[in-house]
């Protein structure tokens, strides 16, 4: 299948600060959404105080101490965004969700019906504005191809009027003066900047054969974008019809936790089929049918190819959005059929697997077993470790829900490695205790006279610990001990200020514990089990 090499005229609807809106924060409240210790979005009130995307948590808290810190939850964002997509669906059925907060659709049909791109853009902006109800603003961009349309939605004109329509055929001129970094491919743009290619127009002026010869297929894709064409040439194959994976749901599905399990299995099946044919999927359609014969369809797109885990996440978000939508737009009955249709596929360029690592049969077995346990218990009951760095006992490793990451493609170091390996003054020296009590049990510590051991304001212990009783249990003789190790945390924040003292003690039975004394109360923070 080969057509003329022009980009599909596309409209992008972009809702600003969606991670903040999805978390249910009012625009006048200061709030920051964090992911991996970095700010990914900030509410307008927090932005006014200087909080920007990409700031470290500590810096963001310094600039906006009263701001609420929210951990990013893509499922919640997707659920909230379903209402917006529902509003856009009044104009066209095939909507593609790039990520929660941003969706796109081809304008050819709807703009004929609604009287041109300008009229369509106005109506979409108005309709979405009604749904958003002042929680945030939406911007609409129309241009040839999704890349240019996304940039049009961010253009200064869109910021003032709420919409920016690039006339048909004028997309290359619109793109030419934009900085080359808008391609968001740092590995290429760093080189191009050093070569003096500062604007998209500079890149578009080069011959495509030269770009291909020097920068390979990724360079060629970027070159096509800069020229206002689709990233993939028009002969990107439509998938053969039998690629679809569909499941009849019996009993009908109406709970999200059931959906998560079905989603993962289906995504894995589809992925296996595509891989068998040497294909990768750029866009997938999630189709569902209800008991009453309604058919629901949404397209999800991913920059680069969708992995099995990423596809399963998107299916789960979509089902969550449908099943937990407001009563007016919710499907009228439980779902009886679910299908995943690969909508745009390209030949898989292949991923070079490590000789020892990579996705092996063992990895797949483990992932399947964990998906089953997620279905048995709760999607958040299964967690995987990530190194975050920190000075408290148990702070170095954070357990994150498997529902939020991809088991085989995640990184153990989601944050800057230097942060993790930093010296963290004040941390308890190694070895690390194997048991950090989730609910520290209370303890009593007395000296040789039987008086409770306290720590003075100057940081001195009132006496040498002699006996220890945990949770009103039997008294154990303290053989050796060290402390107090004083910690004065967040002294600048009156609400979260903590002042405490730590002791390490070994009792006569040979057990070692890390004790914590705070406001006169002893607790067992950790045990060296």
């Amino acid at each position: 299948m080969s057509g003329p090499d022009v980009a599909v005229r596309t409209m992008v609807v972009w809702c600003l600060d969606w991670p903040v809106v999805g978390a249910g924060v009012a625009p006048d409240e200061p709030a920051m959404v964090m992911e991996g210790n970095r700010v990914v979005a900030a509410s307008p009130a927090a932005r006014a105080l200087g909080v920007q995307r990409g700031l470290r948590r500590r810096e963001a808290q310094r600039r906006c101490p009263q701001g609420e810190l929210i951990i990013r939850d893509p499922a919640r964002e997707a659920r909230a965004f379903e209402a917006v997509v529902g509003a856009v669906e009044a104009f066209t059925p095939r909507i593609e969700i790039t990520r929660p907060g941003r969706c796109a659709f081809a304008t050819r049909g709807p703009s004929r019906y609604f009287g041109g791109d300008d009229a369509l853009a106005d109506q979409v902006a108005q309709r979405v504005g009604e749904v958003l109800d002042g929680r945030t603003v939406c911007r609409v961009g129309v241009a040839d191809g999704p890349f240019a349309a996304g940039l049009a939605a961010r253009a200064p004109e869109a910021a003032t009027t709420g919409r920016c329509v690039v006339p048909a055929g004028a997309t290359p001129d619109f793109l030419a003066p934009l900085p080359i970094t808008t391609l968001e491919r740092p590995e290429l743009t760093d080189v191009w900047l050093r070569l003096g290619l500062r604007r998209l127009g500079d890149l578009a002026g080069l011959a495509s054969a030269d770009v291909l010869g020097r920068f390979g297929s990724t360079g060629l894709a970027a070159h096509r974008l800069a020229r206002g064409l689709d990233e993939q040439p028009p002969d990107a194959r439509q998938p053969p019809p039998d690629m679809e994976v569909s499941v009849a749901l019996d009993p009908p599905l109406d709970r999200v936790d059931q959906a998560a399990f079905v989603a993962r299995t289906m995504a894995e099946q589809l992925h296996a089929r595509l891989r068998h044919d040497g294909l990768a999927c750029l866009r997938v359609a999630v189709e569902a049918e209800t008991e009453h014969g309604e058919t629901l369809v949404r397209l999800w797109r991913h920059e680069g190819a969708l992995s099995a885990g990423a596809m399963a996440d998107r299916v789960r978000w979509q089902l969550d959005g449908w099943l937990n939508a407001a009563p007016a737009v919710r499907p009228s009955g439980p779902l009886i059929r679910l299908a995943l249709v690969p909508d745009q596929v390209v030949p898989a360029t292949g991923r070079q697997l490590g000789f020892w690592g990579g996705e092996s049969a063992a990895d797949e077995r483990a992932a399947r077993a964990l998906a089953r346990v997620q279905g048995l218990l709760d999607p958040d009951a299964v967690r995987v470790p990530e190194r975050r760095g920190g000075r408290g006992a148990g702070d170095d490793i954070e357990l994150v829900s498997l529902a939020a990451v991809d088991l085989t493609e995640r990184s153990v170091f989601p944050v800057d490695r230097q942060v993790v390996d930093a010296p963290w003054p004040g941390r308890v020296p190694r070895p690390v205790p194997a048991l950090v009590h989730p609910d520290p049990p209370p303890a009593k510590v007395v000296d040789a006279q039987g008086e409770p051991v306290m720590v003075t304001g100057r940081g001195l212990a009132s006496g040498a610990p002699r006996s220890l009783s945990v949770d009103d249990g039997p008294w154990l003789e303290v053989e050796v001990w060290a402390g107090p190790w004083l910690i004065d945390e967040r002294w600048w924040d009156p609400r979260r200020h903590r002042r405490r003292a730590r002791f390490q003690v070994v009792t006569s039975d040979g057990a070692a514990r890390l004790l914590n004394l705070e406001a006169g109360q002893w607790t067992v923070e950790a045990s060296y089990d």
Partner: protein, 245 residues
């Protein structure tokens, strides 16, 4: 039809070299149920140490129902965190189902002993472990689940825990020497004492420089009293390390 040949090294789970003295033939065979208990701490550390080499060599380990487990301790021993998962403590009636779902998919399944378990469930789990070739490690537990440890092919009791580096009012914990008493069924029935650093001053598991004693006069495994995971369960119940066979 010719049955495919399975090499002997495929039937074992890789372990750290200093731990080899713990196993009857010097290697941890697949399909084994291992019980780990301790008198005064060390059971979790030994269970973590058992799973180090397997994750380093591309295998997977999962830790179930060990609340407050700090994998920082495991990472310092060398566990590859990218092939590790942690599962919250399942409700008692789901415990056996969850563990059965993991056995076979993971090379090493480390579980905190549940508060109660039925004998039939234990036998079914053990059969599944043997058939699927995983290693199931049960850590701690009170008298109610002694069944689990009685059934184990291999039993380890961490005893004589001595901490080094801490003095009266000075220093900090640096290293711990323990003696691991072994027991079990069949080849493992002969009790042995294996002195280990858990961890040594460099943070690794090491053999204490002392001969592995096959017939030490004091190595009466039957008489050893070990406590189930002492602090999780309040340290109240003391369980006798069971007799062999």
């Amino acid at each position: 039809m010719v049955q495919p040949l399975t090499l002997a090294r495929e039937q074992i789970v890789p372990t750290l070299e200093p731990l080899e003295g713990l196993f009857p033939a010097g290697a941890l065979g697949r399909g084994t149920l291992v019980g780990v208990q301790s008198r005064a701490g060390g059971a979790r550390s030994l269970a973590l140490a058992l799973s180090v080499a397997v994750t380093q060599q591309g295998g997977w380990a999962v830790y179930v129902g060990l609340p407050g487990l700090d994998l920082g301790a495991g990472a310092d021993l060398g566990i590859a965190l990218e092939r590790v998962a942690v599962i919250d403590r399942p409700a008692p009636d789901q415990w056996a189902t969850v563990v059965a779902a993991l056995v076979g998919a993971f090379d090493m399944v480390v579980v905190g002993a549940p508060s109660r378990v039925r004998a039939t469930e234990v036998r079914r789990l053990q059969a599944r472990t043997r058939e699927r070739g995983s290693v199931l490690v049960v850590v701690g537990g009170t008298r109610k689940v002694q069944e689990l440890h009685d059934q184990a092919e291999l039993r380890f009791g961490v005893d004589e825990s001595t901490w080094h580096g801490l003095g009266p009012g000075h220093g900090h914990l640096r290293a711990r020497s323990v003696v691991v008493l072994t027991g079990g069924r069949r080849g493992a029935a002969r009790p042995r004492r294996v002195p280990l650093w858990l961890p040594a001053h460099d943070g690794q598991v090491r053999l204490v420089d002392e001969r592995v004693d096959e017939h030490h006069a004091g190595a009466d495994v039957d008489a050893l009293v070990v406590a189930g995971s002492p602090v999780v369960d309040g340290g109240a119940e003391i369980v006798p390390f069971p007799s062999t066979g």
